[in-house]
């Protein structure tokens, strides 16, 4: 099992595989299928200060090899998450990454301050990139200055390391990464969804009530991979990558691109066992590739020369 263990700021992971935020709730539903302690970590659903109703329905639509969603950050709010959801996860041997969202800086700061004190929360994921919140969420994710500033303020109050989740809806992803690195981020998670839409054939109107939604799934994997490849070469921050991962080979791709760990989103809906299956499969692939540890493959897409030994 040591072939897969990964050490990241705040996170000592049995393996680099975890469900992505919003695609696994707070774990309850998927705990029907397997023991969550198997997972490297869990990125729980975005938490906001107050309860959120989310967007009207329809909230999802299918596209070629992808799906659109506009859930709109529906969640029970900070208090309920702290009092009910996170304590429930204590039964598992599972470090939690809390996804923090809001409309204004103050919201983020408040949520971060409190949620980072919860025992099993080992890191925060700053969701500055959700395309489905109107009040300003998107601005945080596409403007480097705002993102840096927000990161700084959240870092100032957080009791655990802070990972910032980058939006792919930018011209220059490395600029965003470097901005939040400057702001004091401990790590990056990338990518959130691309903004897309689908129309109803008959009416010509958007299928999703919110009109546009976030595109996820295999369709976006090439974009995610490219962004991880670019950012990992210029930023010293560890990256937890996501975007279309649905197999162990996809995880290998993202590690090869330069990520340190990988998260699985949409694929959970297709196959509820996917995270477990990936974790089971990875050692076999490492053998096939002659890698003693998964991080021996890290960044090999751009590193010159032979496979490095990560402990060398």
């Amino acid at each position: 099992m040591d072939k897969l263990s990964v050490s990241l700021p705040g996170l000592d992971l049995k393996n680099p595989v975890m469900p992505a935020s919003g695609c696994f709730g707070f774990g309850r539903e998927y705990s029907q299928f397997y023991d969550l302690s198997l997972l490297g970590s869990i990125m729980v659903k975005a938490t906001t200060l107050e309860q959120r109703m989310g967007n009207p329905v329809p909230r999802v639509a299918e596209t070629s090899s992808g799906m659109l969603n506009a859930i709109g950050l529906q969640n029970p709010g900070l208090e309920k998450v702290i009092n009910t959801e996170l304590p429930w996860l204590e039964q598992f041997d599972l470090p939690v990454i809390a996804n923090v969202a809001g409309s204004m800086t103050e919201d983020y700061v408040e949520v971060a301050r409190h949620i980072s004190k919860v025992h099993n929360v080992k890191a925060l994921e700053l969701n500055i990139s959700c395309p489905n919140v109107k009040e300003g969420g998107i601005a945080f994710g596409t403007d480097p200055q705002t993102a840096r500033e927000l990161t700084k303020q959240v870092k100032a109050v957080s009791s655990v390391p802070v990972y910032v989740k980058l939006s792919p809806n930018v011209a220059n992803i490395t600029e965003m990464a470097l901005a939040v690195e400057e702001g004091g981020a401990d790590g990056l998670t990338m990518i959130n969804t691309l903004v897309g839409m689908r129309l109803d054939h008959k009416t010509g109107k958007p299928v999703i009530a919110n009109k546009t939604g976030g595109l996820s799934g295999p369709a976006i994997k090439p974009v995610a991979l490219r962004m991880v490849y670019e950012v990992s070469q210029v930023s010293s921050l560890p990256i937890i990558a996501m975007g279309g991962i649905s197999s162990a080979w996809d995880v290998i791709d993202f590690i090869s691109a330069g990520a340190s760990a990988a998260a699985v989103g949409t694929a959970n809906f297709v196959n509820p066992f996917v995270c477990k299956e990936i974790i089971d499969e990875l050692p076999r692939i490492l053998n096939e590739l002659g890698a003693a540890h998964i991080h021996d493959l890290k960044g090999r897409s751009w590193k010159v020369g032979e496979i490095a030994n990560h402990r060398a």
Partner: protein, 254 residues
Amino acid sequence: MIKVEKMKIEQQTEIAKNIYEIRLKGDLVSEIKMPGQFVHIKVNSANDPLLRRPISISSYDKREQTMTLIYRASGLGTRELVNQTDEIDVMGPLGSGFPVETAQGKTAILIGGGIGVPPLYECSKQLKAKGFNVIHVLGFESKETVFYEAAFKELGPVYVTTADGTYGTKGFVTNAITEFNLQADVFYACGPVPMLGAVEQQLSHMPGFISMEQRMGCGIGACLACVCQVNGPEPYKKVCTDGPVFRKGELVYG
């Protein structure tokens, strides 16, 4: 327990225009709790179509470990399902169905619209077995899409409506209920949302149960895609786990 299983396709037949009946065999059937539950189907192993498709269980036979689904081949996924011959990846049973076990009264009216008709079949069978008189009102687009009329007739009277009047009463299920002055102690309805709203209004004098539809992601309550608005302190319920069957009066119609 929810299973994810490659179920054997025992039979697949077109029973009306673009309407297919498919019989599946597998362990999953043992887990079915009540009529009105559904399964979530991955129609092939490709990335496109990506998502599973929710389809109601129309009837099941626990001894044989078989269940029958009826679906309309319309979009990408259901059209692909038609091509499958061997086995199929099914997740289920899901959701909570029609509470037949606790049903009260003597006469039940079952009201289905289009592809909302299928789950009512098992519901009717079980009500009948409990001693209920079952009356059926089944609405379709037109004559060529009518299905299961004979099957329902074996259980009790059937009133068919078609929107274009090519068969049965012209119009909607509500027209037939009025026209034939149908009376009952409880109703069970499944169909398009406008139909459900109209039925709730029309039958406001009796208790009833309504099966809702919503676009789904996970099918198990995790993604919050499939919410519907309800009366009560929690503004939303999830169709996939809290439903698909709701009690009359629970739902808020947009």
